[in-house]
Symmetry: C2
Subunit: 146 residues, 2 copies
DNA sequence: ATCTTATTTAAGATTTATTCTTATTTAAGA
DNA sequence: TCTTAAATAAGAATAAATCTTAAATAAGAT
């Protein structure tokens, strides 16, 4: 129906990988998610309709999608990986208080010249910005609790 | 003798923390290191002269130094934390092949204006650039092995 | 210089994210 | 429907980091 699922079917076929019901459900949840879910988050969401699913399958499927460039993967707090169905080139804002993560776009960033030592360093495959701080939500909270 | 050690002694005192021999040796290794060592790296280096040291002490001491802003901490590949005695504001270049990490400086980066959504997001505490790619060393190697 | 005490340490147990192993199940082509 | 290679579930294994506890020790007090 939805062309995202047709695309998944096509990509699986091209990679000689079986499109199982579990992969489909995991894919459904990751494209629905808006908040950079962890493997465990996705596992819990899929489990609602598929109580027998194993967390290992979620790990395997998400990493497969990632290796195909269908989703992206971030390691913000080292503790656990978090995935994102946004594959447009983007940067991250990260609240050190609530540990929430936001995507943002900044085309102008790519127009300033990199330092010479970077250009001579090797083959650059990506350049990303990470903003750290306290989000407004958390600032508001610490204000009211004062 | 060296004023770095005098500084450590002073900072420990100010924080009401005992300056033990293990802390001193761990500090000695981290300021000597040039390659963003992991906890295990430091542990192995300290162990040479101090075979009874426990890895837990290395974890505790490095995290203490980090909490005081004496060293910095990066989680590049999620697998393990890596420390750095360079506390000047800097960015990272990261080779996805050999997983080595370089620091670089880019003052001009701070002069371009951030997108509105970022400025309105909350209190910004830091903004960092991460460059990913293949370093020249690795490029050379893949050339010769072809 | 010795005593006292709260901290720190070593060692091993524990926790947590992730991956591996293996027998069973299943998608997809024949 | 049959066949078979790949995928799955379940639980074991691995590895980074933290916790627990008894013993050791730094640093101030005597």
């Amino acid at each position: 129906m939805d062309n995202k699922f047709e695309l998944l079917k096509e990509i699986c076929k091209n990679h000689g990988v079986k499109l199982t019901y579990q992969k489909l459900e995991i894919f459904r949840e990751i494209i629905k998610a808006k908040n950079h879910p962890s493997v465990e988050d996705i596992y819990n969401r899929v489990k609602v309709n598929m109580p027998t699913i194993s967390i290992d399958t979620v790990y395997r499927s998400l990493n497969t999608f990632y290796s195909w460039g269908l989703i992206s993967k971030v390691h913000i707090f080292c503790d656990k990986a978090r995935f994102d169905s946004n594959t447009r080139l983007h940067h991250h804002m990260l609240c050190t208080e609530c540990e929430k993560l936001w995507d943002f776009y900044w085309p102008e960033f790519y127009s300033i010249e990199l330092p010479a030592e970077v250009k001579e360093w090797g083959n650059i495959e990506g350049q990303f910005v990470e903003i750290r701080g306290i989000c407004r939500e958390c600032l508001k909270e610490s204000e009211t609790s004062r």
